[in-house]
Every structure is written in structure tokens, then in C-alpha cells.
Symmetry: D2
Subunit: 212 residues, 4 copies
Amino acid sequence: MKIGIVGYKGRMGKEIKDLFEEKNHEFVWGYDKDGEYFQDKPQIIVDFSLPEVFEKTEEYVRKFNVPLIIGTTALQDEQFEALKTLSKNVPVVQSYNFSIGIQLFLKMVDFLKDKIDGWDIEIIETHHRFKKDKPSGTAKMIKDKLGKDVPISSLRLGNVSGDHVLYMANLGEVLSVSHRALSRRAFAEGVLKSAEFVINKKNGYFTFTDVI
Amino acid sequence: MKIGIVGYKGRMGKEIKDLFEEKNHEFVWGYDKDGEYFQDKPQIIVDFSLPEVFEKTEEYVRKFNVPLIIGTTALQDEQFEALKTLSKNVPVVQSYNFSIGIQLFLKMVDFLKDKIDGWDIEIIETHHRFKKDKPSGTAKMIKDKLGKDVPISSLRLGNVSGDHVLYMANLGEVLSVSHRALSRRAFAEGVLKSAEFVINKKNGYFTFTDVI
Amino acid sequence: MKIGIVGYKGRMGKEIKDLFEEKNHEFVWGYDKDGEYFQDKPQIIVDFSLPEVFEKTEEYVRKFNVPLIIGTTALQDEQFEALKTLSKNVPVVQSYNFSIGIQLFLKMVDFLKDKIDGWDIEIIETHHRFKKDKPSGTAKMIKDKLGKDVPISSLRLGNVSGDHVLYMANLGEVLSVSHRALSRRAFAEGVLKSAEFVINKKNGYFTFTDVI
Amino acid sequence: MKIGIVGYKGRMGKEIKDLFEEKNHEFVWGYDKDGEYFQDKPQIIVDFSLPEVFEKTEEYVRKFNVPLIIGTTALQDEQFEALKTLSKNVPVVQSYNFSIGIQLFLKMVDFLKDKIDGWDIEIIETHHRFKKDKPSGTAKMIKDKLGKDVPISSLRLGNVSGDHVLYMANLGEVLSVSHRALSRRAFAEGVLKSAEFVINKKNGYFTFTDVI
């Protein structure tokens, strides 16, 4: 397929471009802070950039009238609203994390959440020093899934792709669930899976859970 | 209630005795390598000793005709058979681990096991230097629940009460579930719960999962 | 020896009392929020309470004219000054952590600190839910030893005795040093060692590093 | 410089080739299981392959008369002897691990080793599923540095670049030192550093500790 990427010069943008090209897809359109790259009309747009760019993404999705896969973190409520509106015309896949392991993690949280009443809960997320937002979107997804307000500690260390740990403790024991992304490639593969999932859909709002 | 303990001089035996006494139960009978302690007929027998002593335990449970809670690890197949037979006359609770966290751990394994096809799996268990059997009964429970043969690494470190970690990895990520017992007291509390659960039962074979 | 304990009803106070009695020392004097316990004049005073009580501790040390071992965390600058003054008359051992492992930890930090220029550094400390101060005194000792301002994340989980982790990362790797106290007994043993160290000293200001 | 690589089609071989080319060095010669690649005479040979290939490496180093950097693990005693002999004519850098963090790790082990008498010691190493030898060369370096025989547990998980943990425990506490390589690039950078270090040397036997 012909792919377009918002933030194609960023870390995740490059990773996605590389993986799609490796799988014989074609990078034909891009948008980054120094402007637009145009070679052909894309069949799908992927956005792993920053919330500030969201309006541009929205504009181009409407213009090309193609599916959108968005992994940008720290989106605002009104931007989620805009995505919902957009999804009436084109299919949209939104997630803060495109790894299978995190999906399994979230399902375990869902199972545990009403069995740990009175336990202490803590979340730690660790990412590379270049990550701008805190806490990570994934840590927020874990917290939301728990359905209660729990402390999140954010560590920024070297080039760590992304670690998440959920600790749960009563007075006698500590239970924990952990996830460690070994490279950004794991996320890029989730994006490819999502692209294959939406490419022939008419419209609709999906999460990565729907994809897998 | 009046409690009897096989292995009452051992680490877990003492922990159980202390907790029951703290909760106003009475330790009235015991058996250990240097013989029998008798003050009164017990209403329940708890065994956290060694497989070699199993026949003695069986003998006394029959003699007193009381419920048995057994946490001895490394039991043989024929000893499990004997427990099943015993359970026709008295209630029996058998588990390699009496903590709530491990029960939740096992349920997560149950959920994960058919979603991690092709992933690499490793189990690590860490216990105090005095633990004689390897791997731990709990590690074996985790392996059994996975339903496949996976490597178990056993570490023996100082006075660690008991740590278990299950690692699962595909090429892009590592997911793990961990449990750390903070003290033997966590297990003693599970035994007390089990005692309250079986004290008025007629007979039957139970696991700690049935108790909670 | 005859021991006096400020905060003798607290967690650490009880642990210290138990260990000293086990080793045939005698608990003869105590002070806690509901007043004084007096059976005999102590030969040494141990304080593992709160900074608010410090003036009382000071008063009794002067009154009995005996050595002081103080492990109270979150002391104020003027309280450290008072300890220095006190140490002209009696020996004083002050430390935020009385475990041997933490002493080794600090020496490793001392070795590492000028070899990790430009690395990212993070400290995590985890303690039981009853711990009132944040971050732990030990985490502060690690930070001070590093000689620079680094983030400290504080987790409060169940009945964890005390975990400390120092992470150091460049873009290619993460190095870490960790310490986990298995029980408060490890600290009580450090206090006993300190007591044996100071009991025959005339005066002076010591840390636990001097003791071992 | 003009670089030659034994095992240039392997994981580490490719990583080294990529980094050197990125830094404007030139890959001019290679050897792999399907034969030789020759474009020009190399100024240095790097070998990250398998012990079975060692004789070939030796042959080519003699033929080209250039420095050798060798990171192949599981070398035999006689192969080490051959390296020593070789180093009389050309400079040789041998190490099982070319990361700076591991060098710091080893120095901490050196500091700790005579302070943990009577402690329990365990080493865990985790690597990707493709790693053929067990335990890792780095784990062996840690064991050698300790100067005593300690258990090493080897885990093989997904695409993990390389984790090493050294646990030390007395009855009250667990101290540990950990290292996690985030990517093979960390090692490739150590190779580049080594190349710059030996390129103008006449001869001699060096380890990566000498390089940094």
C-alpha cells in the first residue's frame, strides 16, 4: 500500500517508514515540521507526532479521504472528539500503544482490578530521555483500566524504548505485571497490523484492541 | 480451634503456630523429627514438612479423624493418590502455595497461556538458602498451568521468603508476571483461612483456589 | 548491656528490643508518645522515632550521660548541629541506614560517581505504607553521595521493608545497583553492632561506616 | 580506516559494519560461512563469529598482518594461547563484552568480592533466542572476577540484547548489580573505540579494560 506519515522524520516515523518499505509498501507522502513531502497520494495516513500537529493531520486525512492510524500521545479531549467526528467518514485507529504485550497487560489489569481492594498500587514507566510527555500514554491507559487514581512514577533513562510496571501489594506480598518494549519496531509492527486491518474498511472508530 | 502441626519446629510450622495462637487458637499437638508432642487431641492437622514424613501425617489424620491442610512440597504421585483416598473420610486442602497473590498469578497464567504461542517462556524462582527442594512447588504449579514444558531457574539467596517470575517474550517485547512473598506470615494467613474453610466440612479434596 | 529505646513501641523499636533481648541484653528504659517506661538507668540509648521527639532524646541522653545511636530519618539541620554538640560529651552514632549492604551500596556509588558523566540517573525507593517521610533517608544518602541533584521516585507498597535502586543509563545501556532489606531485623543487627562499637567510647561523632 | 569483518553477515557483524560506515570508515573485506568477500586489503580485522571459525581468523590476520579485535565467545584455552602468540606480531584486543557499563560492573565486582564472605551469590544472564552458547561470556567474566564458583542461570528470551544480574545475599538483605544492553549498537561502539585504540599500535595483547 501507499503510506503517508505525519512526523516522518521523528523516531517512530522513521521506524514505521523502514518497516513498511521492508514489507514492500511505499512511502509516498510525509509531513514534518519543515513542511510537506509529496510524491503521490497516500492510501493511508499514520501519525506518531505531537498533539500540536493534530489539526494538520486532520486536514490531510480529510483532503486525501483515507484511513488514519494515530499513536500520538497526550491528545486533548477536543482532539478525541475530532477523531470521533472524523471516523464517520474514514476509519480511525487510535491507541497510545501498538504492542500486543501491552494489550495482554491491559486485559490482566481488567481481570485484577476488582480483586485487589485495599491493596496498594503503584505504576512505574521508564522511557528514553527524548520523550517529552509525562506520564506516558500507556501508563495512563493502565490507570484508566484500573478505574482509580494511582500514583505514576516516570523515569527517563538513556534510550529505553518503554518499560511499564504495575505493582500491587497487600501486607504480605507484592504482585506485579511488567512490560518491556525491546525496540520501537514492536510498535511499528502493530501499526502495520492496524493498516492491514483498516485499509478496506469504510469508516469507524477503532482501538488497537479491536485490531488484535 | 485446637490445632496440630506436623513439622511444628520448622520455619513454617513455627510461623503457623504463632499466627494461630495470636488469633486465640490453641496448639495442642505436634510431630517433628524428635517425636510427638501431645497435650490434647487436635481438631485439625496442618502439615508443612517433608515428603518423607507423609506416611506419619496420614497415620495421625486417620487416628484423630480430623481435616488436613497440607503444604508440603515435592509430594510424589502415590502420595497425591493417598491424599485423594484420605479425602473420602476427612476434608483435605492441598496446595503448594497458600498466598492470595499466587492464586491471582495462576489465574493470569491461565488467561495468557493460549495467547502466547511461539513466545519464549522462562520461570525464575528465588528462595532462602534453607529450602531443600528445587524447583519450588509454586514454580511447578505455574508450569503445569501453562501446560507445556518450560525452563525453570532456581536461585537460593539468603532469607528470601519466595519470589516467582514468569517471563514471556516475542521478538519485540518481554511481558512478565511477578510475585514476591514478604514473609512466611502471608502463607500462614492462607493456612488459617483454609482451616476456617474446612473445619466444618465432612470430607472432600480441595485446593487453595477453592478456599478463596 | 542495659538498653534504653526512644520509640520503643514503634516497628523498629520493637525489632531492636527483641533482638537485644534475644542476645541477653536488657531493655530497662523506654520513651514513647504515651510517656516514659522506667525500670533502671540505661547504659545506652537508641532512637528510631520521629524528628519531633528529638529534643526529648537529647534531654535523656544528657540526663543519663550515655552513648546515643540514632536512626531517626528526616532530621533537620539544627538537629544535626545538636548531635554534633552532644557528641563532645558522649559518643553518637548517626545513620539513616544501619545495614551492611547499604554501606557497600554507598561505596559503589562513590566509585561510580565520576565515571558516569552525561548519563541519566534515577533513584527509586520502595517502603511499607506506614512510612511517613518521603523520600527515604537512605535515598537521600545515595543522592548526597552522587553529589548532584537526581530525581527520586518514592513508592509505598504493603509491608516492604525497604528497597533502593540506582539506575544509570547512557544511550546504549542501563547499569543499576539495588538493595532490598528482607526484614527490619537486618537494621536491628546493625544497631547492635553499633552499640558494641560505642559502649566503651568516651565521646565522638560516628556514622555506621565507622562502625563497620 | 578500512575494516575487515569475520562473520560480517551475522547480527553483530552487520551492526559493526553499519556503525563503521556511518562514521565514514570503509568495509573492504569479509569472511562468512559462504566464503570470502574481497574489495581491498583491510587495515584491521574484527571477529564476532564462532569459535569454530577461529583458525580462519588467525590465518587472515597473519596474511594481512593487521590488528585483531575479537569478541567471539566460548573460545577454548588453546585459542587463547594462539591469540597470545599472535599478539607478538600484531595488536590483539580480546573481550567477551565491549560495553562501558560492563567494565564498570566488573570493577564493582572486584571491589565487592572480598566483602561478601559467607553471602549467597547467584548470576542471571538473559539473551535473545538466537544466542548459541550458554552461559554468556560476560557471565563467565563476572564469575572469574568473583574468583569463586557460583551458579549461573541462563535465560533465552525473544530479542533481548543482553542482561546480566549479580545477586548477593546475607540473611537480612539482597544486594545486586545489573546491566542491560539496550541494543547491539552499544557493543559496536566499544569495537570502534578499540579499533581507534589499536590501529597505530605495533603489537601486544589487550582487553577492553585497557581500551577505556
